[in-house]
Symmetry: C2
Subunit: 208 residues, 2 copies
């Protein structure tokens, strides 16, 4: 019962992976199932609900196979963060959805539960745990979305603005940092460094 719904989501997910999120239309999904567009409405409440279902799929993929209960809290947190980044790299379209469709599904709650226990194990006082969970997950999702959307790519200024031009001396900090700005960006390494910083932030909060 309801197994047909999963088939619909499967089809939508396949289309998104192959041709991007814009290609996911009711008609396209229906075609892939060899069915009329209107037939989908038996299994999904509409296009928005379909997209919600897609983010549910992605989130479900974040849960670790084993509980991994025996690992130290820092590693458990990193594993979740890596899983999140990998999911958005595997399904770049999902980045557009993670923030804009804050559907709190059962799988999402399970992920939050893991973060909660990690923070508690780190010794964070209980009243600070929810805030730090939001802080960490906001950053991790933001990072994944930024990467998938190309926000970390080379800073390409659109030509009109460049012509409207800025005097060379107008951006002194940029010029001073130019050597480091020109370096190719190792996103994975940056992600690691960021997570290390966040771990220290959590430890500091635990000490208070």
């Amino acid at each position: 019962m309801g197994g047909r719904r999963e088939e619909v989501l499967d089809a939508a997910l396949a289309i998104a992976d192959e041709a991007g999120l814009d290609a996911v239309s009711m008609r396209a999904v229906a075609d892939r199932l060899g069915v009329t567009p209107m037939a989908l409405y038996r299994h999904v409440d509409g296009k928005d609900a379909l997209l919600d279902g897609l983010v549910g799929r992605v989130l479900a993929g974040l849960l670790p196979a084993d509980g991994g209960k025996e690992l130290p809290w820092g590693e458990r947190l990193r594993a979740l963060a890596y899983a999140c980044r990998e999911a958005t790299l595997r399904h770049p379209w999902s980045a557009q959805l993670l923030f804009s469709r804050p559907a709190v599904t059962l799988d999402a709650v399970r992920v939050v539960e893991l973060v909660f226990t990690a923070l508690l194990d780190a010794g964070v006082p209980e009243h600070e745990v929810p805030r730090l969970e939001r802080l960490v997950s906001t950053f991790v999702i933001g990072f994944a979305v930024s990467e998938a959307a190309g926000r970390f790519g080379p800073g390409r200024i659109d030509t009109r603005s460049r012509r409207a031009g800025f005097g060379e001396g107008e951006l002194p900090a940029h010029q001073r940092l130019a050597p480091w700005l020109d370096l190719p960006l190792d996103v994975a390494a940056e992600f690691d460094a960021d997570l290390a910083d966040l771990e220290r932030l959590i430890e500091a909060a635990a000490r208070r």
Copy 2:
């Protein structure tokens, strides 16, 4: 010259503020200007370019009126963060765009320049400045987007998942934290606390 382009963006921005981002269609913008949809294409390359223009507008609003050069770096950073949050609260639709359209415009570069100088003034070693800028801005934008999208709202699990139900004992951390989870969330205070944590993170990086 090109002043007409600004009028087009003005119209689009007004529509977005009044009726949401979905209401921004070429036809709607054209109607508001008393003009045919196709007339817009003289001033804007297409719908995507129009949306890019909108994020440019929002970003331009982030720049402080005065340079505020004399303030300590922490306050300058906070001012930018507040401005970002306020912009997305004033124009909730922009949250959907900030991450998904990473258009690096001149105004965006100016904002980054301010963050760079703040971090340099804080004593962060030059090679770490670009990374920390990305870390901070990723979080700040992520926070603003989350708030505007309702991700921080009360955790409403959709009924299907709830019925698919989870044993009461399956989420121990949630139960342990229930007292704090039930509290109404003071988003502004949380933002403050997060920024304070980030400031400490930056100071720690400066000490290394």
